[in-house]
Symmetry: C2
Subunit: 901 residues, 2 copies
């Protein structure tokens, strides 16, 4: 395609599937099918450059009209018909087609070229007046709503009125006369709304449609979508102009969509829907119910055979699941569109293995066909597949999982109700936060994936279905009505599926994910063989593990966590938080430590804590024999171990008002007030605690060293690593390192065992990242705490913002994803990259990992691999996801968009 | 000095004042004086490299002994005496001398070379047995305490005992026999403490002394000091070995210190102290009271004339105030040390102008002689100089100013006492915070400049004197006793001077600083001429303004502030905070805005606020006609306008307990709970508020635009600039910019006046700095909010940490200065530099300033000049300081230490 920059219009046979930048996705697919010799109606694509010029200049590029004329002339010659002719006219469709498909853009206008004259010519040529007038009313309806921007409901109402007055059951029952009447009403609507007549010149119709496609690139919805998906605003869209073929030419005509295999399960065999006597949009619009594709066997076996042949050819050609749109015009099959088909997570894994085993793709490509996100979906508990139930409603699946509980309609009920609850709200606001926290699942009738409910529930890992807009929720009456008329009252049990978006009345059994059962080692060989998804997942994990460079560690605070980490094949423990060890029944020791009024009292409490900590560490080191265990010194502010200031203040005030003063409470309140911080996240915590509370760090290191000595005595190979949290610069680290080394040395001397532990630090403050070179001179390892690093780099704390302004930020596209879920590569990632580069420059063998929650996030894992980290660490359940993504990262090159999806 | 790297020892005539790296400060001064032909006793300097080798290897460099021997032989030849000889022995002194003087290092040992034999030789040669034994006991005392590390008090006690038993009034009254007895006791102390005899070999004495100097480089106190002052640990110290001359040879001998002019006022004329019959350390130790230097006129006019000649020569030579140490040995003057002398702020300004007018220095050098910190000291209110009062105690001046109030001894009294108070504590802890906040000044008897009281008071700008260790504070009895016996009881008035550290009983009149009176334009020509300090300051300001590149704007929120900014010669307003405009009587409007339950109610409140905001802006723009006024849109979280959660919770709970429920309070509490954030600093504020509270930004921009239109109608040239706070990335800014432009456009249309305003943003989050290149594509200016940027880069908030761990961090040298006072160049400064570089790369004419408090901090101003900012903005009172520093920055090159002090 030499000289492609010099013209705007290309015939379908001039491009191929790799020209999406130029031709858009739809245009590239049409070109590919044309070149394969498939029956594609002739047409041409106006390339994206024309759109860019139009948007920059505000006018059509002057040379475009001539190019379009030339291509139209070619089409007319090929079809032997003329656009808008009063005798057997040629009609065309106009479809937008950007590189990425995008909601909010104008989609399709069919039947361009019809006017008051050519409608008769079409009728004569087709031998059907009804067909011609049906096509004309379709043109005016689509043109009116999409090109002229008139509310589509006005046309819908007019059609309904016509159906009612002629006693028709649907649009197919309207005869030519009725449709002629509809056209007259439609024209009046256009005249009324725009003050102009419906344009009769076919060329003007075409130009206006092309212009409308160009302008739809900049609708608010399209802009927001591009911001959310980080699609550049300057790509522009292509426009596909195609000679019409007609699925509404009678019972031997129709239109359909098909997949080369089942996109839900990945099972082999063509799969799709067909609607006779219809044009393309009717299937999608759902105004009539299509029949399964298999029914074509009865209606038109020849076309079905041809379709099957084409589908097989396309799948072989694309080496992937394809979906297509087709039309049959009086027994002749036409292909209108093809693309790589969307699929469920289960189908993705199954098909990747099928294509691999069929020799169509190699392991590398198979790894490219599945994602960590899909594996994550397969790991949620799910409704028992044996259970037969029909959803009473469907919404947007916003946060995966399967939740069962009684319906509650406000926060107070969610908190007060015993047992599991599903919070049902029209939409949620920050006021509903307590309810979301208390409930087991959230169901709303409004909002999309960036709504408040969706964002908050996802942040908390709660099952959530939003935008189930068939539900009529009556919070006053504490009930909702589903589309089929089912009424659910407060206290009734419902079940919601956050992966499919389905809502069920009653309780459905929840079963553990077979994939998790497999990872946990609870499936025998027969069970594994019987489940094709488990089989596919297990094989993909082997391929990923063989190829990955990145280590995958687990975050684990207890021996039980450590056990699971080993089962899930973690390469070590990347974060063992010690503060959890001070909760529960040991909390009062910390309280004593804080209330201690002398150094002696403090030392006494620390001495009591020592054997407990020792026990914790012995247990974890025993489970992880031979693997590294990175232990973080105590991190959170001390007041977290004390009661809440407001609650205790109220308690003491009420007691005083009653004349009953509890001196213990008063003393406690004094301590809480003393330790109270305006912004505890930015207060006395982490290494700062270690530097101002004497003996605390020494006690912890002492326990670690004694635990290591005990395991060495038992013949094990314990590998503790000691990690200092929240440093801002090397000075803090050096002082801590001195103290840690002193204690290690003392315990080695006392025990006669040479205890070694790497000493390193979290990098979780911007300043630590910016001064990493100097820190690395003294630290043996870095572990990025990307949760805190995100908080300080952006200046917001997860606790405070996820329920407040995050939904608005996601909605407006300020974030593509919550930066707490996927690492913000531009900001936080830049700090990480600086620290990696400057840390390694200062110490070549510096070990670098990440232990924030991003360690288990697929796209973040790929980023960490790219910038050269040694390992990621994440919760045990996300270890397989990180292993898979680490394998994918090793074999897949980032695309131009910096992504490997 | 070719080949200086190949040897360690240099005679005094081999170096000069520019060899401080090699010879240390003291050695360089001795070399300079020797080369000037001044009477310096002969000697040599062991260069810093020897110390570095010693500290690295743990041993003296082997070649060092030979070099020392050679130089000792030269000394012996020059003096015609031999070290340790039993006949007329040569003695030497050993003094440390690093490049920077440093507390905690070993200072001086005199009289090395004396032993049981040579003491008699010295007696014979000097003709004074008493002198010889006095020198011997001095040697053993200094050697014992500094080289052998024996508690100095043991020697002091033995001397006291000898004085008592012989009825002597002081050490000069002890005769030879008594001193011989003291030597015997001293030797026994050494034997007892070390198990060894006092070394009799003079060469061993010398080696041990040199080694002790080397080792004192690494005392904990020296290490902390270096960390605090950011002096590298690897410099090492030099050692100066000098032939002894004797100030204790009788009434015609003595020792003294002198300044070339008065270091307190800068008045011309030699100034100093003299002590006869004494060796060097006696003056500093203060065991006897020295006499003013003028008294030498009577005692030894010849030596005084010679000293005056030398002082004049030194001042001409160094072209600066010098101080010296000298000794007179039987009428012969010897110079032992010289260096550039310390001075008060007033003296610095006066002397810079004097030297300039004398033609000794040029304007550039004069600017180098004064600092913004000194100017700041001159701007505090001060005690009336006419007032005659003697301090009852003196402490460390920790936070400047003059405070008068009644003494209180705990936080509760500070809070409860009407009128002004001075909080008096032994030391303070976080528990005393409320007291420090309530008091007008703080006085402690313990701690230094990094103590809790000092750090917190400085952070709050309160006058503070710490470590007044003469005070006996009895908090139980609520009183303190001053050294002279004065008792101050709770309720008695005291006065403290945070610039001098003096404490006075009773109230002393506080008068405004004459320098501020001058800046405020309240001095007439005669008053200006009469005050040499005001005169000096005013001339230096002219020189600075002529030379500075950096603009200096003021932070001002009200027309009054703006007026002062103009008087103080600000080039504009760099930060006009609009949130202050919502306090006071308008607070209830904000409360209504928050409590509004519909968009209509919100719009109504916003409409009420509009005219008030309009009035604010009209006033400020009128004051600043023709100069830029940068207005920041509302920044703080909304809950700041509501009552405190804990207080309101207690109030409502108590009311409920009494059965009296105030529905308004209950509603308010609900709102406070809803808006309550764990970490408000990291919550819903700044641009986030603007993006989620509809109409708020539009109202503010509307008011700004209307105000500008009003001023244009009045014939003015208003220059508003609109600043968006707290953005994390370009997406937020672009959305705000669209809204701001829309409102400006609408008001322009409606008013018929073309209203223009630059639209820019704060850079106050790490992420904004890291993505500044993209932001600059849309922003016309940047203003660094270095307070917030420091908080997030370090991950601590000023409110929470200054009183908690900052004192420990300053004490341990983790910080050299609070990063909220002086910009942390390594971390925060790096982000600023990144943003400047990448912002300018994206937009060449990007205007860049800073409006955090660092904008008025001298060392930060120099940094901002260096990296190319266009202006700094600070509180009006700091505008002159910033102007001076900006002028200095323009003419002074940073030294190797990156500093221009």
């Amino acid at each position: 395609m030499a000289g492609t920059n010099r013209r705007f219009v290309f015939a379908f046979n001039e491009g191929d599937k790799d020209h999406k930048d130029l031709l858009g996705g739809k245009g590239a697919g049409l070109a590919e099918m044309t070149n394969l010799g498939l029956p594609v109606p002739p047409g041409f694509t106006i390339a994206t450059g024309a759109c860019r010029r139009y948007l920059t200049d505000g006018n059509m590029p002057p040379e475009l009209a001539d190019e379009i004329d030339a291509h139209l002339a070619r089409l007319e010659a090929e079809r032997g018909k003329r656009l808008g002719s009063a005798v057997d006219p040629m009609l065309v469709s106009v479809r937008s087609g950007a590189k990425f498909s995008m909601p909010g853009m104008m989609e399709t206008i069919l039947d361009i070229g019809l006017n008051d004259d050519s409608v008769d010519g079409l009728a004569a040529a087709a031998g059907s007046e009804r067909f011609a007038w049906d096509s004309y009313r379709r043109l005016i309806q689509m043109f009116g709503s999409t090109v002229l921007g008139i509310d589509a409901a006005r046309f819908g109402a007019a059609l309904d009125a016509a159906e009612r007055s002629s006693g028709a059951a649907g649009d197919v029952d309207l005869d030519a006369a009725a449709l002629r009447g509809v056209v007259a009403v439609y024209k009046a609507i256009i005249r009324d709304a725009t003050g102009r007549e419906f344009p009769q010149d076919p060329r003007e119709q075409l130009d206006m449609a092309i212009r409308a496609v160009f302008e739809s690139w900049n609708t608010e919805r399209a802009r927001v979508y591009r911001r959310q998906e980080r699609i550049p605003h300057n790509l522009g869209t292509a426009v596909n102009v195609m000679a019409m073929v007609y699925g509404n030419l009678g019972p031997d005509s129709g239109t359909g969509v098909a997949f080369t295999r089942d996109p839900a399960t990945g099972a082999p065999g063509v799969y799709g829907d067909y609607l006779s006597e219809a044009q393309g949009e009717d299937v999608v619009a759902g105004i009539r119910t299509p029949v399964p594709l298999q029914d074509l066997e009865r209606l038109d076996p020849g076309s079905l055979a041809e379709l099957r042949r084409i589908m097989a050819l396309l799948e072989d050609h694309y080496r992937d699941l394809c979906d297509v749109e087709f039309t049959i015009e009086r027994g002749k099959l036409w292909m209108l569109q093809t693309r790589i088909g969307k699929r469920t997570a289960a189908a993705a894994f199954r098909m990747a293995i099928q294509f691999l085993d069929d020799g169509l793709i190699d392991v590398k490509e198979a790894l490219g066909r599945v994602t960590g996100d899909q594996l994550a979906q397969l790991m949620f508990p799910q409704f028992d597949p044996q259970f037969e139930a029909k959803p009473i409603a469907t919404g947007v699946p916003a946060s995966p999982g399967a939740a069962v509980g009684v319906a509650v309609f406000d926060s107070a009920s969610a908190a007060d109700t015993e047992g599991k609850t599903i919070l049902v709200r029209r939409e949620t606001s920050p006021d509903d936060l307590p309810g979301i926290i208390a409930a087991d699942g959230v169901l709303t009738s409004r909002g999309g994936k960036t709504s408040h409910a969706a964002v908050v529930a996802r942040g908390m890992g709660k099952t959530c279905v939003v935008g189930a807009d068939g539900l009529e929720i009556d919070a006053e009456q504490r009930q909702f009505t589903a589309p089929g008329g089912v009424v659910v009252r407060e206290g009734d049990t419902i079940s919601i599926d956050g992966t499919s978006g389905c809502v069920y009345a009653g309780a459905i059994d929840v079963v553990p994910s077979p994939v998790v059962e497999y990872f946990e080692g609870r499936l025998d060989a027969e069970q594994r063989r019987r489940d094709p998804v488990v089989q596919a997942v297990s094989r993909m994990m082997i391929y990923a593990d063989e190829r990955r460079r990145l280590g995958v560690h687990a975050n684990a605070d207890t021996p039980d966590d450590a056990k699971r980490a080993r089962r899930f094949r973690a390469d070590g423990i990347g974060l063992c938080r010690t503060e959890h060890m001070f909760l529960g029944e040991r909390r009062h020791h910390v309280e004593e430590l804080i209330l201690a009024e002398s150094a002696e009292e403090q030392d006494k409490v620390l001495a009591e804590l020592l054997p407990m900590q020792l026990g914790d560490f012995v247990g974890i080191l025993a489970e992880m024999d031979g693997l590294p265990v990175t232990i973080r010194l105590i991190d959170p502010p001390l007041h977290e171990f004390l009661p809440d200031l407001t609650e205790l203040s109220v308690k003491v005030a009420l007691a005083e008002a009653r004349g009953e003063v509890d001196l213990g409470d008063v003393r406690l309140l004094r301590a809480v007030r003393r330790l109270h911080e305006q912004n505890p996240m930015l207060g006395l915590r982490g290494v700062r605690l270690g530097l101002v509370v004497p003996g605390l760090v020494a006690m912890q290191v002492h326990a670690i060293a004694e635990a290591a000595a005990a395991r060495i005595r038992a013949g094990d190979d314990p590998r503790p690593e000691i990690m200092v949290p929240l440093i801002g610069g090397t000075e803090e680290f050096e002082l801590m390192r001195e103290e840690i080394e002193r204690v290690l040395h003392d315990v080695s001397e006392a025990s006669g065992i040479d205890i070694r532990a790497k000493i390193g630090t979290m990098i979780e403050l911007p300043r630590a990242a910016l001064t990493a070179g100097r820190i690395a001179e003294h630290a043996e390892f870095f572990s990025f705490g990307t949760n805190d690093l995100t908080q300080t780099t952006w200046g917001f704390s997860r606790d405070d913002v996820e329920g407040s302004f995050f939904p608005a930020y996601l909605e407006k596209g300020i974030f593509a994803a919550s930066p707490f879920e996927s690492l913000d590569e531009e900001g936080v990632g830049r700090l990480v990259a600086i620290a990696v580069e400057e840390g390694r420059a200062a110490r070549e063998d510096l070990l670098i990992g990440v232990c924030g929650e991003h360690g288990g996030d697929p796209s973040s894992v790929r980023f960490f691999d790219r910038i050269g980290l040694d390992y990621v660490s994440c919760s045990p359940f996300r270890v397989p996801i990180a292993r898979l993504e680490a394998g994918r990262a090793a074999v897949l090159k980032p695309t131009a968009e910096g992504d490997t999806r």
